[in-house]
């Protein structure tokens, strides 16, 4: 198996479960533990693996959390396009994602705040106040059914007969 092939097999597995151990992965993919460890290091160095996170459904905790999607229309700047305005936005720690979009608006900003007020004040005081921003439209997330490929609203239940031929 080439290095690239191994990467292609590894990534979907650890994307779903970043806690899989080197030894386990080596057994399952039929390669040595050294190969796995090297592949992981290389992919971290190349920025292919950008981090290891935990998926949390905050709505099941006592922690208050409000998420919003904000459509942003901007005037691109000469020589820089959308990059510098995107950078100004993503530096705010409450901003969790920023995407450049095709279609009716330019940037999609995903924001996580503690309260509705916090999100509202971010949009009105900080985001809208930036020079090149033409307009914003804020959509609050009411309920997350599925996130990052994981269904949050229902737990998997094995409903098969426990013994069958």
């Amino acid at each position: 198996m080439s290095e690239r092939e191994l990467w292609g097999k590894l990534l979907p597995l650890i994307e779903k479960n970043s806690r899989m151990g080197v030894k386990e992965l080596a057994v399952m993919l039929d390669v040595s533990e050294t190969d796995i460890a090297n592949a992981m290091t290389r992919m971290e160095e190349e920025g292919i693996i950008c981090g290891y996170h935990t998926m949390i459904d905050w709505s099941k905790t006592d922690v208050e959390e409000v998420s919003a999607l904000i459509e942003v229309r901007v005037t691109p700047q000469r020589g820089q396009g959308f990059d510098s305005i995107a950078e100004r936005i993503y530096k705010y720690p409450e901003v969790t994602s920023v995407y450049l979009m095709s279609g009716g608006f330019d940037l999609m900003v995903i924001l996580e705040g503690k309260t509705l007020q916090e999100v509202a004040s971010f949009v009105s005081m900080k985001l809208s106040a930036m020079d090149s921003i033409l307009s914003t439209a804020t959509h609050f997330i009411l309920k997350k059914y599925k996130d990052h490929g994981t269904i949050l609203t229902k737990k998997y239940e094995d409903t098969r007969e426990q013994v069958s031929p």
Binding site: M28, E161, Q162, V163, S164, P165
Partner: protein, 385 residues
């Protein structure tokens, strides 16, 4: 009052699996490696097609042999996977799961007293179905030393002038054994020489992990003497839809369809529409599930070797068949103690025939997390005994 029952039926032993099932049902915290079906849900696009067919009001019988479109897709599938040409309207029909096709094939082909060679350990229904068809089942005991592959000498040894049919249960449930092209060529030679017919149960044909499955029907001179039985249950995770098929010589198909027509009418219409979608657009789903099974298979075998459980490497289906002979218990004792002491359900090898003695069947149709939890119990049990 007179005895209401048929002697033939009452003489058939109940399935050995049933007993374990009953014990497990009584326990509330037992976990199981005992299932014989995929843990995946049917891929959504296939389910959606079934739902759509209901919305459109496709709620009637289909023709006895099944929807033409589905039979065409089945024949295309046989062509692209085995390079076998079957005519959809003459040599192919749709059944209620592969198990119906097994029953029909036997009933359509045997006369009272004909002998049917059944290699065991294997799926539980061949022997009773042969008995119900008034055939005489003749058991071939597959050997652990051969990795449970059928040997041509074993056929010759059991062949008499009454022998008419050989059942080929590969890829095999419960052992996970597969037969390579070379293995099959040797079998085919004997089968031609003895003028036998083959019922080849290829329900696990999509689930092989070292090279593609080869159907014995694709070997020279074998198509005209082989009925291939396939289905959607294992490949597409569609067990509950009850959908299978048979392809083979027109002469035999006609008679099988006759029984099917009187006993069943037709396979469920909703399932047939879903089956068309599965064959047209399901290859990628099958590939993904196969890869996942393969990773679990490796994980399981590695775990066995670490806990000192001896097991040949299975390359098909989703079962491993480790030997428990060295623990000084029968398969059934082992499985019963494992269930009562560690609350882990596995199936004793003897549920699949006497030659399964000394083995247990472990299914890896479970998520990796479930497998891990179960293997911890198995390891604890092995340390104790």
């Amino acid at each position: 009052m007179r005895n209401p029952l048929s002697e033939k039926v009452t003489a058939i032993r109940p399935s050995g699996i049933r007993k374990f099932f009953d014990i497990v049902q009584e326990m509330d915290d037992a976990i199981s490696l005992g299932v014989g079906e995929p843990d995946f849900d049917t891929p959504w696009h296939i389910r959606d097609e079934g739902i759509y067919s209901l919305e459109k009001g496709r709620t009637y019988y289909t023709s006895n042999a099944g929807l033409r479109e589905l039979r065409e897709e089945i024949c295309r599938y046989m062509k692209r996977t085995q390079n076998l040409d079957y005519r959809p309207m003459q040599e192919c029909f749709v059944t209620v799961g592969g198990s119906e096709a097994i029953d029909l094939a036997l009933r359509a082909m045997v006369n009272p007293g004909d002998e049917v060679l059944i290699p065991q350990p294997s799926y539980v229904s061949y022997e009773p179905c042969a008995v119900l068809a008034d055939a005489k089942p003749v058991i071939i005991e597959l050997q652990g030393k051969d990795d449970f592959r059928l040997q041509p000498e074993q056929i010759l040894e059991k062949c008499t002038d009454k022998t008419k049919i050989l059942v080929m249960p590969y890829p095999n449930n419960p052992t996970g054994a597969v037969m390579s092209r070379e293995d099959l060529e040797k079998i085919a030679e004997v089968v031609r020489q003895k003028d036998l017919y083959i019922i080849s149960d290829e329900i696990y044909g999509e689930l092989t992990y070292r090279g593609k499955h080869v159907s014995i029907a694709s070997l020279p001179g074998m198509k005209e003497r082989t009925i291939v039985i396939g289905g959607f249950s294992k490949a597409y995770a569609m067990t509950g839809w009850r959908l299978g098929y048979a392809v083979g010589p027109e002469l035999i198909m006609q008679q099988m369809i006759k029984i099917h027509q009187f006993a069943i009418m037709c396979a469920p219409t909703t399932s047939q529409y879903a089956g068309i979608e599965a064959l047209r657009n399901g290859d990628e789903d099958v590939a993904q599930m196969r890869e996942e099974y393969d990773r679990r298979r490796r994980y399981l075998l590695h775990a066995f070797s670490e806990m000192g459980l001896e097991c040949f490497e299975p390359f098909g289906a989703f079962y491993a068949f480790p030997s428990v002979a060295r623990f000084g218990m029968t398969s059934e004792e082992f499985a019963t103690r494992l269930l009562t002491e560690e609350k882990l359900a596995v199936v004793p090898g003897t549920a699949f025939g006497d030659s399964g003695e000394g083995y247990i069947r472990i299914s890896y149709a479970y998520s990796l997390d479930d497998l891990k939890r179960a293997l911890e119990r198995l390891e604890r049990f092995l340390k104790k005994i």
